[in-house]
Symmetry: C2
Subunit: 401 residues, 2 copies
Amino acid sequence: MLVVQKFGGSSVADAARVMNVARIVTETYAKGNDVVVVVSAQGDTTDDLIEKAKEINPGASKREMDMLLSAGEQISISLLAMAIEKLGYPVVSLLGWQAGFQTNSKYSAARIKRVNSERISKEIDKKRIVIVAGFQGLNRYDDITTLGRGGSDTSAVAIAASMRADLCQIYTDVEGVYTADPRKIPNAQKLDEITYDEMLELATLGAQVLNNRSVEMAKKYNVELEVISSLTQKPGTKVKEVCKMEKMLIKSVAKDDSVARVSIVGLPDEPGIAFKVFSRVAKAHINVDIILQSVGRDGTKDITFTVPAESGDAAVAALQEYCDQVGAKKILVDTDVAKVSIVGAGMETHEGVASKMFEALMDANINIQMISTSEIKVSVLIDKAEAERAVAAVHAMFFDN
Amino acid sequence: MLVVQKFGGSSVADAARVMNVARIVTETYAKGNDVVVVVSAQGDTTDDLIEKAKEINPGASKREMDMLLSAGEQISISLLAMAIEKLGYPVVSLLGWQAGFQTNSKYSAARIKRVNSERISKEIDKKRIVIVAGFQGLNRYDDITTLGRGGSDTSAVAIAASMRADLCQIYTDVEGVYTADPRKIPNAQKLDEITYDEMLELATLGAQVLNNRSVEMAKKYNVELEVISSLTQKPGTKVKEVCKMEKMLIKSVAKDDSVARVSIVGLPDEPGIAFKVFSRVAKAHINVDIILQSVGRDGTKDITFTVPAESGDAAVAALQEYCDQVGAKKILVDTDVAKVSIVGAGMETHEGVASKMFEALMDANINIQMISTSEIKVSVLIDKAEAERAVAAVHAMFFDN
C-alpha cells in the first residue's frame, strides 16, 4: 500500500516532536507500506524568517519572500530524515522542485500545475522512505514558489493524486472531524467518515481542519483522505466520495464568528442594482457569503450581505461612492454577528432538516437574522453573543437522543 | 566591467550588516559595473542548524547535513536581495543549482566540476544585480552538495573564472594581506599586491585570509582577486600572477602555532624506512609538513616530522604497530612548537634570504628545531613560547629600515 502522510509545522516544532513523527512514519513503513511524507516548516521557523525579512525590507518582493520562506521546509525535511536515519530506516529528503512540483508563477500563492513524481517513484523503488518539502514548488523560470496558506495539505494531496496513493493521511493536533467543536460541545462525536462536499462546506464554515484547496483536489482526483492525530494515532476521520453512514442526516454543526454583515439601506428599486453592488465588491476581491434583498415600504430596497469580518470596512469603501451617487440612505457594518451552520449530504434527500434547525433555535429563543441554504448546508446569521448557545442547541437537536 | 563580490557570514550577520553589504554592492553597480555577489550563510545560522541536527541525530548522513546547511545561504541571499530592493535597484537571488554550480557527489566537501553561468548571464543582461548562494551546488543525481570549508570563496572564484570577470573581490573583516599579523606586529604593512603562489604559501601557513582552494582556482584561471574590508572599503590587496613590486624580497612573516612534532627514535638504518613510515601516515589521511631524518650514533636513525596539532595522536596511532614491529625505541609527540615562515617570490632570485632570517633568530637567541624551504618560502620550527618574539624579530629584520 502506498501511503502519503502529511505533518504540519506544530508536529515538527522541536526535536522531540520530530522524533515522534519519525516513529509514526517508520511504523507505517515497517508494516510493509511505501511511505511518502510531506512536512511543513517547523512551527517557529516561518515566523522567525518573516521577522528577519521585515527588519530589512517590509516591502520585499514576493519572489524573494518565497526564496526565503522555502528554506523553512528545507530545514524540517532534512531534520526529519536525520531522525529516521537514527531509527535505522532508509530515507531521503526532497525539496519541492526535486519532488517534481511544477507551479504557475504567482509567488506566495502559486497553484500546482503538475507533479512529476518520477524522482519520488525512483526513491520508493529503492525502498526508501521519501520526505518531501510541502508548500513549495518551481515555476517555469526555475524559480522557487510557495503555495500560500495550507499549501502543505495541497502538496500531500497532489502527490497522492499523481502517484495514485491508497491513502493520504493528514496528521493534525485533533483526532478527526467532529459533529461540533469538541472543546465547546462536550458530547460532540468524532465522525468515522465524511464526504468531500461536506468537508468543503465545513472548511468554508470556519472548521479549519483541512485546507479547502486540498479537499477540492482530493475530490477531483478521488484521493482518500484521513484526518488523524499525530499524538494519539487513533483512527481519525476518512474523507471520501460516498459515506456508508447515510442514516446520519447531518454531519456537523459549525460556527464562524469572524463575519461582518454589511447593509445598504434605501437603494432605488430598479433592475441591475444587485449587479452594480456586487460587481464593485468583487472588484475589491472580497468574498460575499449570504445575500438578502428586501423591498422597503417607501419604494426603495435594502441589500444585506455577509463578508469575512476583516473585509467589512473594505466592502463599505468599495461601495460608498456608488451609494452616494444613487442616493442610498446609508451603509451599515455589523461585526457582532456569527454564522451557525449544519452540514450533511443526508439533508439532500430528507425534508425538514432546515426546519428542525430553526425549531432548535426558536426553543432557545435565538433570533435568526439571515438564512442561506445549499444542497448539503443550512447557515443562519445570528447575534454573536448567542453563537455558542445556538451551536449547543442545534447539536442537541440532531445528535442527542 | 564585470565584478564578482564575495561576502562572508560575519558580513551579513544581522540586518544592519546586510544593509551595509547592500550599499557596497549597489555603489559598485551604480558606477556602471555588472555585479555578481556571492554570499555565505549568516554568522549564527550555520551553528544553529548544526545544533538542531545534533539534537536529533549526531550521526546524520552528510547528504542530509548538506540539505540542512544549504538552507543557510538560501536565507542570506534572499535577505540581501530584499535589502537591495529596498535601495531601489533591480536584483535577483539564485541558489547554487540555479546559478549552475555542478559538483561531484562528495557530500560536505564537494568539488566544483563546472559552473554553467547561462542563468547568471541572462539575469545580467536584464541589468539585474545577481546574488548567488555560495558554498553549495548540485551533483549529477540532482542532490544538493556543499563545498566544505571556505567554500564561498571558491564559489566566487568559480563564477569569476566561468564568466571571465574583470575582478573578484573577497570582502572580509581585514583590510588586506599584511607583512605580518597587524594585531601582533604594530608596524606590519598592508601589501598592495601579492602573487598567487605567495598567497598559497601564506594560506597554508595559517594566515587564513583566503581559502587555499579558491587561490588555486584563481591561479589556474588567472582570476584577479582582491582581499578588501567590508567595513572601510579602502583598496585592499590584489592577488595576481605577477606583481610589480619585485624589489620586495619577502612579502610576509607568518606564524602557525597549531603544529605537532612527531619523532620516531631508533629506527633501523636501512632502505625503505621513510616510505614505510610515511605511507602509513598518508593512509591515515594526515598531512605531513616538514620532515627531518637523521642518523643516530648507534647505527639507527631518527625520523621527525610535523603535522597539524590535532593530528598528532592519530599519527602516533598510525605508526605504533609498525614501530613496535621494527623495534624503534619510542615515538614522541610535542605540541609545544610553532612554525614561523617567510614568504616571497623575490627570494627565488636573491641569495641570502634564508640566512637573513636565521640571523634575526640568532640575534633574538631563539633556537631553530627544524628548517624547511621552498622556492618562495622558508619555515622554521621553534619553541611555541618564542613564536611571537620570533615573528617580531624576523619582521623587523626585513621590514624595518
